[in-house]
Amino acid sequence: MIEVRGLTKRYGGTVAVEDLGFGVRPGSVTGFLGPNGSGKSTTMRMIMGLDRPDAGHVTIGGRPYRGLSWPLREVGALLEARTFHPGRSARSHLAALAAGGGIEAERVDAVLETVGLTSVAGKRAGSFSLGMAQRLGIAAALLGDPPVLLFDEPVNGLDPEGVRWIRELMRSLAAEGRTVLLSSHLISEMALTADHLVVIGSGRLLADTSVAELTASGRSLEEAFFALTEASATYTGATRAGEGTRR
């Protein structure tokens, strides 16, 4: 469903993603796991056609994102950063996206209900907490009822109840036969949510395996993850002079 092949992206002299390749299949939740700065968000942006790869390509159902006929009805995405104007209401933000995506206006209220923002739909989105902002982003992803969904760190800012809600949402979307790619740096959350794992470190593929297999290789998923990522050197981009630990 999502095919990533030979993907490479550099920013200036820094390599963000290098020769990355993996596939994401329908009907299961694929976890996209890696330390902060390992290239998850960059890869997500390249899948969405927002950033242009220096090499390689991504296809969704055989076509690049820019070649989709009705993008929002084919791919839904929650990206890491906020993607709405703080002065606009949640309902207006979604109404604009529905218009741009050729989606029936009725879907706006439906997804607001799904994510639990109905009561604040008319409020300026700038007044939202991080958790509410995440819910608005998820509503936008679900708007077009797409068969392919990308979620970049969706549990950020959510309370325990919200975290569980996300987990169940991911599971049910996959159970409906959709393709779900879920990025996170939270290993324990991945163990509970994902069926399959794509692990990256420093922009390179470290593992493309099922959760069960990876767990079997170490004592726990967490240990297996650290065994993988330690080999892939330091966190890229996270160290500034005088800050953090140098190895």
Partner: protein, 265 residues
């Protein structure tokens, strides 16, 4: 586990119609749009009325020949262009500063089309507003003229053209704002560039080289080519000025569109 086979969304393809509807909803759902447009109307009408109230009857043949109350009443264009230009900049840079651009491009991955939709929707709004406000300003300003001052009328030669082109100028400045916004992607630098081009450079150049270069700057064209019924020496003719302005808008939008396509969002 049921499997849902990949189902391409029902026929057709997104296009300018969807992109334009999206831009229209975005534009009208921000309060700042309404406030800015209201400020434009109030500011321009007020400046027109005040200018006319202070317009004295001309004395002497030379003064009578160059007397142009239509030009006076449109003094507020200087203010209106700033507000509309900045609003045009924000149509693009406001999306970059808030991250909305990623939502926009997720819906409309064709970036030239996304920019064209912004230009079409905001340009149309600015055109309607511009024409409405220049007409209202003219009619209100004329009433403020002292009884002994010759009153211009819409039927007088060139008066209608001056009003129509001045209204259209506001739309063109809005489009230039969108183009500059797409080029810099940052509010401060885009507004700086726009104000520099419209206000600062022409003032500097007319101080040093007279009208030779200055006559090609948007503000100079607006004030001395478009909004006149009595031609000003050394300036472009109304329609030549208008064509030059259209060229600027098209060029800035073309460059902005090209950069949008090439750069990461």
């Amino acid at each position: 586990m049921s499997t849902m086979t990949y189902r391409p969304a029902h026929g057709g393809h997104y296009g300018l119609r969807q992109a334009a509807r999206m831009e229209w909803i975005k534009l009208r759902s921000l309060r700042s749009t309404a406030y800015a447009l209201l400020l434009t109307v109030v500011g321009m009408v007020t400046m027109g009325v005040v200018t006319m109230a202070n317009t004295k009857p001309p004395h002497g043949a030379a003064k009578v020949a160059s007397f142009d109350p239509t030009n006076n009443v449109l003094a507020g264009v200087a203010l209106g262009q700033l507000i509309v230009g900045v609003l045009g900049v924000l149509v693009v840079t406001g999306e970059y500063s808030t991250g909305t651009i990623r939502s926009t491009l997720a819906a409309i991955p064709d970036r030239r089309m996304a920019l064209a939709a912004k230009a079409a929707v905001f340009g149309a709004l600015a055109l309607v507003l511009g024409e409405a406000v220049t007409f209202v300003t003219f009619l209100a300003g004329r009433r403020a003229l002292a009884a002994d001052v010759p009153h211009p009328s819409l039927g007088d030669p060139d008066v209608l053209r001056a009003i129509l082109l001045s209204g259209a100028y506001l739309a063109l400045v809005g489009l230039m704002g969108i183009g500059v916004g797409a080029i810099t992607r940052h509010t401060a630098s885009a507004i700086g560039a726009l104000v520099g081009i419209t206000f600062v450079l022409p003032a500097l150049l007319s101080g040093t080289t007279g009208t030779v270069v200055a006559k090609f700057f948007p503000t100079m064209i607006a004030g001395n080519s478009l909004a006149v019924t009595v031609p000003v020496d050394g300036m472009l003719s109304p329609w030549a000025g208008f064509v030059v302005l259209c060229g600027y808008s098209a060029a800035l939008l073309a460059v902005g569109g090209r950069l949008l396509v090439r750069r990461d969002a």
